[in-house]
Symmetry: D5
Subunit: 147 residues, 10 copies
C-alpha cells in the first residue's frame, strides 16, 4: 500500500527538519490530535489540507494524491502492542474494559461509544507530585435498535 | 482463582437485586469507576470497603477475605475483544496508538503515561446531535531515566 | 457469565418443544433476525419482551432479569469460525473485504457502515437453478470527522 | 506471487489518474462489485476483460496474462481485520453468525449459502436520519447430501 | 452445545458395546463414511435415521431430537491437529495444497471443489509392500461467476 | 531459501509461455500431480528431471542444482488457508478428520496413513448435474509398534 | 474424550500407591518408554496388556475397554510447551531442526525419519562432571517416491 | 541481523560447489552435527574455525567476523514446523513429551536435561526392513536446587 | 493434573488463615522465594518439607504425596501475561532482552544463564523518592560446547 | 521505522571494529546496561550522547537525529523468544511470575514494580562450581490508588 510510503516520507522529513506535530497542526488548521493521526496515515485529507502537507514536507504530486485516498487503517504492528507507552493503553482496556462497558450501559443502555464520531484531546496537567497526562475521549453514543 | 467466584457472586446479586454501580459506589465511598473495577475483580479492597461489600451482597466471611487479596488482573477473555463496545476501545488504541505516543513524547519526552497512578471519569454529555460519552483519563507521566 | 446459561436453556427448550425462530419472533413482536440474535444472547430485551420470553421458555424470574442485562457479545468460539456455513461469511469478508471498503469509500468518503445502527433481512429466493439465500444488510454510514 | 504486483500497479494507476471503480466497471462491462474484486486481485479475467484492463491501466503483455491466471485469493493481511470499516463486517459475522446459521437452517435445512455462486450489490439509500449503506448478498443454497 | 453430549454418549456406548462403525452404518442405511461423520456430530439426521440411532445407543427422546438439529460443525480441538493420523491430512493440504489448486484450475478454470456436495470413500488396498489406505474424494466443481 | 526463487521463476515462465502442468509433466515423465508439486518447490528432482526442467524454463546451471536439493516443504503462507479452494480441503480435515481417523483405525488398528509413501490422482468426472472433481489419495498404512 | 479420564485415574493411582513406571513396564512386559506413553494415553493396548493394567490400577471393565481404543494423541496442552524439561526438547527442535534435516537428507536423500515406526530408549550415563541423560531415538527412514 | 546473510552465502556456496556437511565438518575438525548447526547460524565459531570457513566458502573478512559473534538462535520460521521431516520431531515432543518428562524425573528427580551441555549423533542403521535413522541425544542432567 | 488442586487448596487455606509466605517459608526452612514457588506448584518438596506443609494447611495424605511429585511447571495462563505486575517483567524481557543477551555474551561468551541452577532474592529498598523493589537473580553460566 | 536502520548500522560497525559494549558505555558516560539498550534502539539519547555515538560509529547527521527521537520499543521478534538465553528469562517469568507477584504484594500491597523507573546491573560472580551471572533489577514500587 502506497500510503505507507508517504507516511514514512513525512516522518523522516519531520525528524530531518526538527518540526513538531503542534506546529504542523497549526499549518493544517486542525487539532494536533487529528493532524498527527492524519500524518501517520490514519485519516483522509481534503485537497486543501493535502496541499499544505505537500508544501510542508516537499511531497510529489502523486504522493499528495495518496493523502486524499481513504487509507487501510490500523497503526500498530502486533495485536498486543510491545511499546511500553502504547501497551499501557492496551492494559487500560484489559483491566478497565469491563468497567467501562458496565458504566456506559448503566448510563445509556445497550449500544457503543463511537470510535468514528470521536475526538480526543491530550493535555499536560501540572502536578506537584509529578505532571500528569490528561486525555479526554469523546464519542457519540450509538444505541442498538430493535427491528 | 477464587476471586473470580466472588466476582460472579457479586454480579449475580447485583442483577437479582437490581442494584446500580453508582449506588454501590456511594455505599463504598469511592468513585463509580474505581468501585466498578473493584467489584469486577480488578482492585483490592480495604477491610472497611470489604465489610461494606459483604453487607451489600451477602458474602461469606471467606469471600470477604478474598476481596482484600490482590487479584490476578485482566478482565477480558481474549487478546482482541469480541464485545462491540470494548472492541471500539481496542480500535482506538490501534488507530490512534501511534498518535498518542507521538504527542505524549512531544510534550514530555521519553516515558509513559502510568496505568497504575491512574484515574478515569466517565460522564454523559448532552448533545442535540445525540448524547456523547465523555471519558477523562488521567495518568502520571513517568520518565525513563539514564543510569 | 450467566446470560450464557439462559441462552443454553432457551436453545434446549426450543429443541425439546420443536419451536421455530419465526414463531418465537412473532410472539416477541420483532423481526426473526433481531429475535434470534436476542435469544442467542447478543441483544438486550425490554421488560415486556423478556416477559414473553419467560412465558415461552419457562424461565425463572432471575433468568428473566438476565435477558434485560446488556450481554458480553460475540457468538463464535474461535476467531476463524470452523462451521462451514459461518465460515463462508468469514470468507466473504476475506475475499470481498477490500472491495466493500473501496466501494463504500467511493460512494460516501471516509467512514464506516455501522454494525450498531444496523438491520438484516434473510429471505429465500426461488430459482430454477437452485434456490438462493438473499440477505439484505442495511447500516447507517458514519463519517470520520475532522476536529 | 506476481498477481500482487499487477494489483498494486492497477491501484497506483487508478490514484494517479483519478479513476473511479464505477467507470472502470463500465469499461469492463461487469458490475462494479465484481469488477473491483477482480481489479483487487480476487477474480480471474477473460482475455477480452484483460485486454480492456491493459488499455485502461497501461499494463504490459505479461502483466495482462497474469490477470487471466486464477489468483491465490484472500485480500486481508490479518485474520482479524484492523481496518474499522472491514472490522465492522467481521463483527457482524461474530455477533450475528449464529443467528444467520439458525435462520438459514430453519428455512433450508442443513447446508450452506455459497460464497462462490454468489453476488453482491452495494447501494446508497437516502435517509433523513443519515444515509445508509445497503448491501444485498445473494448466494445459492447448497444442501449437504447423505450417501 | 448439547449435540456434543449426545456425541459423547454415542461414542461411549459404542466402546461399551464393542460396536463397529460399519455395522452401525448398515443399520442406518448409509455409507460408513457419512454415518461415522453423523455419529461424531457433523451431520444432521432424518427422523427415521435418528430413530434407528436412538435404538442402537439407547438415547432419550430429547437426545434423539438433537440428532435432527443442524450442528455447529468442526470436529477438531485445535487449528493445527496434534493427532498424528489427522495431522498427516493437514500436511497433505500444506504440501500439496498449491498443487491441488493448480491442477483443478487447469482442468476447470476458476472455482472450487465443493466440500458440501461431497462424498468420500475409504478402502483398504492389499499390497505386498504393506497394505494401503485408499481414499476417494468426490466434490462437485463450482465455478466463480461474473455478474 | 533459494529454492523459492527457482519456483517463482518457473511459475513466471509458465505464465509467460502459456504452458500447462500436464504438458510439463509429460516432458518430465512423471504424473501431473507429482510434477506440479515438484515444480512448486515441494519435491526433489533427479539430475535427469532437473535437466529437462532447465531446458523447459530456461534455468541457469545454479538454479538447476537447487532443484536437486531437498527443499524446506510447506506450500501455504498461513496455518488456516485463506484461498477458498484450498480452504475447502482444510474444512474437509476439520469436519471429517475424526471420521477418517475412526474408519482407518477400525480397518487397520493404531497407526497412520502415510503422507510420504503417498500418491494422488486428480480427475474430472463428467456429471449431468455438474462435473465433479475426483481425487484418489493412496497412502501406505504404517502401524504403531510396541517395543 | 474418556481416555483422558482413564489416564488421570492411572496417574492418581500411581501416586497414591507409589509405583514406578519401570515396575509397571515390567508387569506389562514392554519397555518403560512405550509403557509410560501408553499409560499417559498415547498408545493403544492389547486385551492382555489392558487386563494387566486393569489389575495394577483397579480399573473398571469399561475403563479397561478404553485402553484398547486408539486415542486422540498429543500429550501437551500448548503448542510451545511451558514446562522447562519439555521445553528443552522443543528448543532442540528449534535450534537443531535444520541441522537434523540437512544431515538426514545428506545420508538418505529426500524423505523423513518415521515417528510411527519409531522407538526410544532413555538411560542414565554416569559422568564425573555430572550424570547425563542419554536418549536414543530410532525411526525408520521413509523416502518420498515419484509416481 | 547479518549472521543470516552469512548463513545464506554459506548454503548457496555449498550447493554451487556440491560440498557435503561431512566433508565440511572434517575441514573444521568438529563433528558433522555441531558443524552443520554452526554453518546454519546456530553456533559461534572460534577464530581458527572461522578462518577455515572463510577459506571453504570464500567469505569476506567482515563476514568471517560475524561467524565469531554469538547469534540470535532458532532455525525455524514458525512455532509449529511445516516441513514434514522437522514436524516429525515436533510430533515426538508432542506425543512422547510427557513420557520423557516422567522417565527422566523417575531416574533423576526434579530438573531438566540440558539443551546447552548437549551433544547429538546421527547415524544410519542398516535394517533389512528398511534402513533406520538412529539419533543419540546426550544432555547433562541439571537438578533444581532449594535455597 | 492434581497438583493444581493441591495448589488451590493451599492458596485458599492461606487466605482463610491469613498466613504470610514469609512465615510459611520459615516453617518449611527455605527462602521465601523458593517456598512460594513450591507452594504455587512449581517446585518438588522433600518428604520432610511436604510433612510440614501438610501440617500447615491441613492436607490429606494423598495431597501430601502430590507435593513430592515433580509438577508440570508454568504458572501463567497466557503466553503474554495480562496481570500488570507480571506484565512488567515480560516487558523487561521484551525491551532489555537483547541487552541482557549482549552483555552476558560479552562477559562469558556463547551460552546461557541457567534458570534451573538459579536463585532469586526479593527485597524492599527504602528510598525517599518512593521505596523500590530490588530483585537479585543469580544463575550459573552454562557454556555451549563444541564436539 | 528508521531507528532500526541506525541500530543495524551501529551493530555492524561494532562487529567490524571489534568494539565492546563496556568501552562504548565508558565513552557515552552511562552504565553498560543502559548504553547497550540505547545502542540497540530501546532508549532515547541526549544531544551530547548522540554526538558521541555519531563519532564512535561514523553516523550521518540524519542518523544522529534519529537517536534523539523516542523509539517504538520492543527488541524481540516473537512473543515467545526462540533464542535460548532470552528464553530462559521468559521461563523465569513463566515459572516464578506468580511467586514474584505474591511476594511483592505481601511486602508492598497492591501495585507494580516499575519497568520505567528501573535499572539493571549485570555482573559475573566467580564460583568454584562454575561462575554465575548475577543480575540486580531495581524498580520503584508504584501503588494502585483508590479515587
Amino acid at each position: 500500500m502506497d500510503r505507507n510510503l508517504v507516511t514514512q516520507k513525512i516522518i523522516q522529513a519531520k525528524v530531518r527538519n526538527k518540526m513538531t506535530w503542534s506546529a504542523i497542526a497549526e499549518s493544517i488548521g486542525q487539532s494536533k490530535e487529528w493532524t498527527t493521526a492524519a500524518m501517520l496515515g490514519q485519516m483522509t485529507l481534503t485537497a486543501r489540507q493535502a496541499a499544505v502537507t505537500q508544501e510542508l514536507f516537499g511531497l510529489s504530486d502523486e504522493e499528495t494524491l495518496w493523502l486524499q485516498i481513504v487509507p487501510y487503517k490500523g497503526s500498530l504492528p502486533t495485536p498486543v502492542p510491545t511499546d511500553p507507552l502504547i501497551y499501557r493503553w492496551y492494559e487500560i482496556v484489559s483491566v478497565y474494559g469491563s468497567t467501562i462497558k458496565e458504566l456506559i450501559h448503566e448510563e445509556f443502555g445497550d449500544g457503543i461509544m463511537s470510535a468514528i464520531d470521536f475526538k480526543m484531546d491530550i493535555q499536560r496537567q501540572a502536578d506537584p507530585a509529578g505532571d500528569r497526562v490528561n486525555v479526554v475521549l469523546s464519542g457519540k453514543f450509538l444505541p442498538y435498535k430493535t427491528y
